[in-house]
């Protein structure tokens, strides 16, 4: 067990086809397309019962063409990341117990898909996920509760209350967010230089 990683931060094992599933629901974000290709390419029988959802503006260059070339039973494009999440919820609401959910892309996006699925009764650990792309995090300010997307360094300045926040390695699956806590609360103004988040 890697003790450098906090227990509340999920680890994602990588996309692997679950042949027991009667159908596959795949959600792709950002740099996630290659992970889907690695897992599904050549699996003709499985692709016949696979739905792929992605947002065309978010999928990295070339990824969309290669996803099309997979010839899954259904490929659904959304305009934006938010629309994609809405579409995922709509499809999941119409799905039955035998569907397996896969998600590949940024950590913050995986978190949102898993949280949304959990609200619909899906056990988080049953979602097959693979993290691809940058290290940016989604962080909730514990003081004003504002959520900043794409945080890449700690401390950062909360765009809700303007305070300088330390990004703690504490993750809420429900919020799909890390926790940000004021770094200079004890000595106001004592803000150390920002460090890039390593992973």
């Amino acid at each position: 067990m890697n003790t450098d990683v906090m227990d509340s931060r999920p680890t994602y094992g990588g996309l692997r086809l679950d042949p027991r599933a009667k159908s596959h629901l795949v959600v792709v974000d950002g740099d996630g397309a290659p992970a889907v290709l690695d897992a599904f390419a050549g699996a003709e029988d499985e692709l016949n019962r696979t739905t792929i959802l992605c947002a065309h503006e978010d999928v990295a260059a070339g990824g969309l063409e290669r996803l099309c070339a997979l010839r899954a039973a259904r490929l659904q494009l959304s305009g934006s990341s938010e629309d994609l999440l809405t579409e995922f919820e709509r499809v999941l609401d119409g799905a039955d117990m035998s569907v397996r959910i896969y998600v590949a892309g940024r950590e913050s996006f995986i978190g949102k898909v898993v949280a949304s699925a959990a609200l619909r009764g899906v056990v988080p650990d049953s979602v097959v996920a693979e993290r691809r792309g940058g290290v940016s995090r989604r962080v909730q300010c514990v003081h004003c509760k504002h959520i900043d997307e794409g945080v890449t360094a700690s401390p950062y300045r909360c765009s809700g209350c303007g305070q300088h926040l330390l990004v703690r390695d504490h993750f809420s699956r429900r919020l799909a967010a890390f926790q940000g806590v004021r770094i200079d609360a004890e000595i106001p103004g004592e803000v150390p230089p920002a460090m890039e988040l390593a992973s």
Partner: protein
Amino acid sequence: MTVHFKQETFRDDYTYSNSPEAIRRFPFPFDKDEYMYSVNIEQHMPGPAKSPFEFPIDIDEHYVSEMRDRAITLAQDPKRCQSLPHMITAEWDLVELLMESMAKHYPELFTLTQDGDRWRWINRPLDIDQTFTFGDASTLPYPPMEYITRQCQGDFALLDQRLDNLWMDAGMITSQADWSLDFDIGMNFLEWHAPVPLAKDMAIFERALKFLLNLQQGRPVRRLNWTMTINPRLDTSPENYDKWGADRATVTPENVGRKVHLRVELQAMWRLPRSNAIVFSIRGYLINMDELVTVPKWARRFHRVLRELRPELAEYKGLTRYRQTTIDWLAKHDDGAPTSPGFQPD
């Protein structure tokens, strides 16, 4: 028994203090001159008369003022009390547990009359007389967990049991040692303990979880935990850390005695009958250093515990900035004499 309820505050002018009787019964958490984590869980059996362990639920001289402070905190931040929808049965279980225990052990203060599902609850210190239907939330002015925990000292979390884990799916948390219910709600046992250093390598939480998953109805357990707080502040939440954090930089050799507090949590856990959930109560006790050193054994021992505490634990508990100042102050009350085993004063 008669309890005289003090009128005091836990914010702004901080008038909180302990009577000599409250000092004598303080649940001092160190049974030897050093401290390290352990799975220090024991049966929550009745303890000595007048001790905080005499009854399952301890009501003391701070009751009325603590309930007033909780109401202030909730008015400012209603999310300190939250419950996921599937926890409603556990909420009623909690109403039953607390009302029955309080009425049984403090009959001068509380009376519960049960006629089938028709219950009448009288809380004399808070001037409440409520008739309601057990199981029908529309007959109470608040949801069941919120209703009863606005009338009971201590924070409460309700833990659902499924998938071989415990899930913190409801709670009333207004006097916490720097953790957020709003952030942690819905987490499992290992997730919400993730920020605690060292314990993971010691497999403390895996063992504690295994123990709690087998907790039996009618056999509650307890443990003590501790930290330190500057000023007698109950609301040391992360939400308000940007307001109280600066207090940690205000400790001087002159004010240690009244500003620095030992904060002890009596944590008790019960299995609930209908929901199979677990109540996790976190009952806090505060004592300042002036009060603590009136018991010579505790003065000596706490000085030694604090001096030998591992830096990771001191950092996690937030003591680093005022630890040395406090050790220096306590040193004047430690003549080096041996201390007797056990928690109690000599």
